[in-house]
Amino acid sequence: METIHSIRPLLAILASLFAIPLIVGFSRRPAMREFWTFAAAGSKFLIIVSMLPLVLTGRRVTCTIFEIIPGVPLQLTVDTLGLLFALVSSSLWILTSIYSVGYMRGLGEHSQTRYFCFFAVALSATIGVAFSANLLTLYIFYEILSLATYPLVTHHQDEEARSSGRRYLAYILGSSIGLFLPAMLISYHLAGTLTFSASGFLGASISRKVLMILLIMFVFGAAKAAVMPLHAWLPAAMVAPTPVSALLHAVAVVKVGVFVIIRIITGVFGVNLLKSLSLTTPVIVLACITILCGSLIALSQDNLKRLLAYSTISQLSYIVLGVSLLSQRGLTGAFIHIPMHAFGKITLFFCAGAIFVATGKKNISEMKGLGRQMPITMAAFFIASLSIIGLPPCGGFLSKWNLVLGSIEAHRPLVLVVLLVSSLLNAGYFMPVVYKAFFFKTESAVAGVKEAPLCCLIPLCLTAIFSIIFLFYPQPFYELISHALKCIIGAGV
């Protein structure tokens, strides 16, 4: 594969960091401050898009910054998988920025400068994770992301926010330092390198037991993927302002966790090694448990954002499950679930936020009859929940379909059952919300409420529309994914 050296990946990361001094500098002038956020988001997206043709023609963009540890440079490489993830995150950042302006101003939130700053840092780190060429670079960006999101989670600064922040840190940093770091060091000790390669860098000479322990350590170490039992930080993190929950806790942060697991399985161990030793069975079991438990807990939630959080936990494990099936369809399903779930879930969060801005309500039981007051919002909510459940005409259908096929391909009928049951459960917790909104009588508390500000409304409409479009034009994604699969599976099978 041809490799191009370019600083574009680095620029993509730095684009949002450059904006920080400007954001701080204009902290007294909100319009300018937000302009710089948009500028950063736009330029970041454009830089990433500009790499698309290169990658699609089968080349790989690399940027080595310098050697940080002997044999392990701080290095960025753009491959199709990373690019897919980066595209999703950076495009959604633009929409989230628009939404943030509406949301933060609508509620008159405090410390907005800090909010925009750390948002920009978090995005830089996310892109950094997507483009990391080796485990150490990935780990560095992963930790930066953990720290950058902490002030966002604790944004409200009250006792609840602080204790959630503590829990968030305890889970995320605890797992990454306690499990991920030693696993990485042991890998380095065994292999002498940390650079991802299509066939994995952990050779078959290592005993199965060690590999198994390492895999488990990595999977739990990436606690951002919220595989049970390390999931409790995600519902806690819902105290953050809604745009944070939307972008970070539905797209960037949690997807980073999942992305790390994908990288571990495809780049560190290699699909073939795992397949030949059938090491992923425990991961599959964990993912299945998480899918079911997450959905079951979501059923009992009344707080809308917490419901979405548990839904996210269960949906993330779809991706983990798809990857650990190690079959072509399963991987396709997992990869395509990244954008599908991202667009679906961010819409749902935008809706939850819009409802909060307009009514101040957080609980589902208080939203009866809201569909008449906020028809656009609730319609978007309906579309997005269809997507998450996996029903046409929404993009989510594609990923579910591929996952189901993958489970058959991998000869794991139980997984098939889990997927189907979970879809039913998904419907079970989303449909009542929609039903209550449209078919119940409007409660006096929400009577006379109008739609949220335009800044909130436009992004959520756009993401909902995209969710539908993706079902009919999945080609760009498929093309990227087939490139990625060629690397991952084609290398060996």
Binding site: F66, L107, A161, I177
Partner: protein, 499 residues
């Protein structure tokens, strides 16, 4: 003149100290300027020496023109050259940053303060550079006596007693070291490190040499505050005046840790230390205990400065453990951690000193709302805290990386667990301060209100702030360049004596 750099490095601040004290009786205001000059020159010299050592290799400087076993020699290799740079950097930057406080707080005895400050630096530089066992003792005493008196100038209620306890422990440590040197001298008849190194191998099985090693080691360990012998450290470093805190706390213990490594490698040999004495496992376990106990005791403190002193105890455990695992990777990690720990302890104490301007005390409760008040100072505090925790890309992460890697190679899994555990405890330690400083406003528990109005920004003056920010940036740079630090400077020296 460049040939005399090794001597001038130590004697320029020495001469400056004398001139300052003499001048302080005549013209007080010129003291600060001379002190700055007296530290800038050695800083430049140390950098030049590092460059020279990297190009030409090992430098041996014979003082008075006498050849080593008879005269005293300075031996410079890349490792101690870099430690020298670290010492001069910290001393110079700290003096610039805290000069304002020194001038006001010790206005009637500033000459004495600067003189002792410089002499402390002289002592440390000499300890690092010297190639003579007895010369090391004398310089150690210079550093100690100046250290005692600087510490005693702190909180008048507690500092003198803490300092006197330090005198007792420190004297026991120095005397033990001296006894050990005496035993070596009886058996070999030499005091020069390289000469002793050459004479020792036939004597490795002599009990006198083993006892000599034990006593030298225990002496040095008392001075560096290694766990069961650390009792003097928390009090001494808690009540020290803040301009001296950010000088003594980062340097003294770390330089002594370097002395330990030096004793292990260039006086005795790794073969003796790791084969003849089968104690390396025991020492590593002791280091584990040091790390855990340090971290746990830090957890029990509400006073931030006292908490940091226990973190120092724990960090010393890292270095000792790394050094005693006995392979090149872990030893490199230990040496790297000496440098990193100098920088991060310096940064954290310096920022704490700057923070103390805006708070009533060092209790965690006093930190509430500080981020609004002194954002940049707090940011540097955060960076140093993250470095102590070991978050990449700050430097603390990389020394932990090598330490853990070395522990994996050496099969010391307990040490790995302990390192990770202490990182986790450090997260708790620092984030409860960060939380207080960032997200709690004093008195009113404001939710959804603009906090900016209630707290005015009262940032630290630039003369302190700029050095502080530079140090924080340096923490990140040292982290990023730690790969070259290891490859160019540490590994070649360390692996010469180790596997």
């Amino acid at each position: 003149m460049t040939g005399n750099y090794p001597a001038l490095l130590v004697t320029v601040p020495l001469l400056a100290a004398f001139v300052i004290y003499g001048c302080s009786w005549l013209h007080k205001r010129s003291c600060l300027f001379m002190a700055l000059l007296g530290l800038t020159i050695p800083f430049a010299i140390s950098v030049a020496l590092l460059k020279k050592v990297l190009i030409n290799g090992h430098i041996s400087y014979h003082l008075g023109g006498w050849d080593p076993p008879w005269g005293i020699a300075y031996e410079l290799d890349p490792i101690n050259a870099i430690v020298l740079v670290a010492v001069t950097t910290v001393a110079l930057v700290n003096l610039i940053a805290t000069s304002k406080e020194i001038e006001t707080r010790f206005s009637d005895r500033r000459g004495a303060f600067y003189a002792l400050y410089l002499l402390f630096v002289v002592g440390l530089l000499g300890i690092v550079a010297t190639g003579d066992l007895f010369n090391l003792y004398v310089l150690l005493e210079i550093a100690s006596i100046t250290g005692y008196s600087l510490i005693a100038m702190g909180d008048p209620a507690r500092a003198p007693l803490s300092s006197l306890n330090y005198v007792f422990m420190g004297t026991i440590g120095a005397c033990f070291y001296l006894l050990g040197v005496g035993y070596i001298y009886i058996m070999t008849g030499s005091l020069n490190m390289a000469d002793v190194h050459a004479l020792l191998p036939p004597l490795y099985h002599s009990s006198a040499i083993v006892v000599a090693f034990i006593f030298c080691l225990v002496g040095v360990m008392i001075k560096m505050g290694f766990f069961p012998l650390h009792s003097w450290l928390p009090n001494a470093y808690t009540y020290v005046p803040s301009p001296a805190a950010s000088l003594i706390a980062p340097l003294m213990t770390k330089v002594m840790a370097y002395v330990m490594i030096r004793l292990m490698i260039s006086v005795f040999s790794p073969k003796f230390v790791f084969s003849s004495i089968a104690a390396s496992n025991a020492v590593v376990w002791l280091a584990c205990l040091a790390i855990v106990m340090g971290a746990l005791m830090a957890l029990a403190q509400r006073d931030v400065r006292r908490m940091l002193t226990y973190i120092i105890v724990s960090e010393i455990g890292y270095i000792v453990g790394g050094a005693w695992i006995g392979n090149a990777t872990a030893m490199s990690g230990a040496v790297l951690h000496i440098i990193n720990d100098v920088l991060m302890t310096f940064c954290v104490f310096l920022s704490l000193g700057a923070i103390a301007r805006s708070t009533k005390g060092y209790q965690i409760e006093n930190f509430s709302g500080l981020f609004k008040k002194i954002p940049v100072t707090m940011a540097t505090f955060v960076v140093s805290g993250l470095s102590i925790i070991g978050i990449p890309p700050t430097c603390g992460f990389f020394s932990k990386w090598y330490l853990i890697l070395g522990a994996i190679e050496g099969g010391h899994y307990g040490f790995i667990v302990v390192l990770l555990l202490s990182s986790l405890i450090n997260i708790i330690l620092f984030f409860r301060i960060f939380e207080e400083a960032f997200f709690v406003y004093p008195k009113t528990n404001a939710v959804h209100t603009e906090g900016e109005a209630s707290i005015a920004i009262a940032e630290t003056p630039f003369v302190t702030l700029i050095p502080l920010v530079l140090t924080a940036i340096l923490l990140i740079f040292t982290g990023i360049y730690s790969g070259s630090l290891i490859a160019l400077i540490i590994k070649p020296v360390v692996s010469a004596g180790l596997l």
